[in-house]
């Protein structure tokens, strides 16, 4: 084995990942700010008003990235959960549970901004169209994942059981999506598709892309912060947590906390 070979599995141990996550967080905070500030500037000042919707359409720069992130986070979460199940790595399941609340938050944000956008555009806070409904069902799936994890006290069983639920959800998501789509279609067609040029102004597209990256970086920051708490909580009886975190405290406090 050559000495230059990197041991990729080193950081799959919570003990090694904890300080690394701590070092990564400030960088991702900087990245979040770097994407958010120009993203908001583009959204509010550079992007032209829509010829039909006027200024009201600008909520799209929050709504669409939030909706994208809500779906993306579910996929990442399920992938982590699956890895935790297959390789039995504790850190993967911790990452899955750290991502779930942020995913649910983005789903809720997408629904909320969708309602605010829908009122001036369609004249209704809520319509039972395919995308709104499947986003709502996605929120239910997130809530199921979080509540199953909360209901089981033993962390290992909680992680494995919710991993199965996440994977069953992944198999079901396309089925749910297409059922709901067939069931009702009223929403305007997708504005951005992979194989077609975007039908919107370039500055609008830039703003949306910047906001998406901003949300993405924010997700990483929050997930890392949360996973660090999770690591400390689950590993609180180990020596490294004791010596790192409670160094300099009296043995009485250690016993209380541990």
């Amino acid at each position: 084995m050559s000495s230059t070979k990197i041991n990729w599995f080193k950081y799959s141990s919570p003990q090694a990942f904890y300080p690394l996550a701590g070092k990564m967080i400030p960088w991702f905070v900087v990245a979040t700010v770097l994407f958010t500030v120009p993203g908001l500037y583009f959204s509010f000042f550079v992007a032209p008003p829509d010829y039909q919707q006027g200024e009201a359409y600008r909520i799209m720069f929050i709504h669409v990235p939030a909706a994208w992130m809500s779906m993306f986070i579910y996929m990442v979460m399920a992938a982590y959960a699956g890895m935790g199940l297959v390789f039995n790595s504790r850190l993967s399941s911790m990452m899955a549970s750290a991502l779930a609340p942020t995913g649910a938050m983005f789903t809720f944000l997408a629904l909320w901004t969708g309602a605010l956008w829908g009122k001036p555009m369609w004249g209704a806070w809520w319509v039972w169209d395919a995308r709104l409904t499947s986003e709502l069902i996605l929120l239910f799936l997130y809530i199921g994942f979080i509540s199953l994890q909360a209901a089981i006290d033993e962390p290992r069983r909680a992680a494995r059981a919710s991993a199965i639920l996440a994977l069953v959800g992944v198999v079901n998501i396309p089925i749910i999506y297409f059922s709901v789509k067939w069931w009702n279609t009223l929403h305007q067609g997708a504005s951005i598709t992979v194989n077609k040029a975007p039908t919107m102004a370039a500055s609008m597209f830039t703003a949306m892309l910047l906001m998406t990256f901003a949300f993405w970086m924010y997700t990483i920051v929050v997930a890392l912060l949360r996973v660090r708490c999770e690591i400390l909580e689950r590993e609180r009886h180990t020596d490294w947590v004791m010596s790192n975190e409670f160094a300099g405290r009296s043995p009485e406090t250690r016993n209380e906390l541990g």
Binding site: I137, G144, S147, L148, A151, R157, I164, V171, I175, W183
Partner: protein, 225 residues
């Protein structure tokens, strides 16, 4: 192959015998279904035109809720007295045992709903053709509810508040069945024909038959660790 069929038969017969000894449970699910369906006209109003429109959906939602109600019992008793542990260490594949239990669960809690549905459909003023399609869609759809529900029941085994939790986990996953189940009747009554909906329900049933027992046995192993 024949030994697998024998195993399946054995599990189904055992669960059916147990269910017949506690008939009140079976009847409770059925009456819950009837009561929920009968409550809707009291809430919505007795206009036949409205009832005819919401009828298939109401029957389907009630069937969904009734099957959630019975899910908790699928593994609970066996978990309590240690039978489930014995099942886990038998040489027969666990997925076959799970399939047997889901099948028995459907025979006890799903099939009565299918047979009762036309009567409730008449209360909602559905024409004869709609009644047949309603029965057929329930016949294809309710086994899916039992199979997918088995995953939820296995995951929440011995968990506090399991009864409510299992509905929270399973109901979102059963939405496609509800859409196409109730949609089949609507499509048939509006003259479009129910074949597409029924074919999709059949596809869901085949998919669930293959994947659900497998996922359920993985969930059971996790719960019994």
């Amino acid at each position: 192959m024949s030994s697998l069929v024998a195993t399946l038969r054995c599990v189904v017969m055992r669960d059916l015998t147990l269910a017949m000894r506690r008939r009140a449970d079976v009847l409770a699910t059925l009456f819950f279904f009837v009561i929920v369906v009968s409550l809707f006209p009291l809430g919505v109003g007795p206009e036949m035109a409205t009832l005819r429109i919401i009828g298939p959906g109401v029957v389907w939602v009630a069937a969904l809720l009734a099957s959630m109600l019975a899910l908790e019992r699928m593994f609970a008793a066996d978990y309590g007295d240690g039978t489930l542990e014995q099942m886990l260490i038998t040489p027969q594949p666990l997925a076959v045992l799970v399939l047997g239990k889901a099948l028995a669960h459907w025979l006890v809690s799903g099939l009565p709903l299918v047979l009762m549905a036309p009567l409730l459909g008449i209360q909602y003023g559905l024409p004869a053709q709609g009644l047949w399609i309603l029965m057929l869609s329930l016949l294809l759809g309710t086994p899916v509810l039992s199979l997918v529900g088995a995953i939820g029941a296995a995951l929440t085994l011995g968990v506090r508040g399991g009864g409510v939790l299992v509905s929270l986990l399973v109901l979102p996953l059963t939405i496609p069945v509800l859409i196409f189940g109730a949609g089949a009747v609507d499509a048939s009554l509006s003259g479009l024909g129910a074949q597409a909906h029924l074919s999709l329900l059949g596809a869901f049933l085949l998919g669930a038959l293959i994947l659900a027992p497998w996922a359920t046995s993985a969930a059971l192993r996790i719960s019994m660790e």
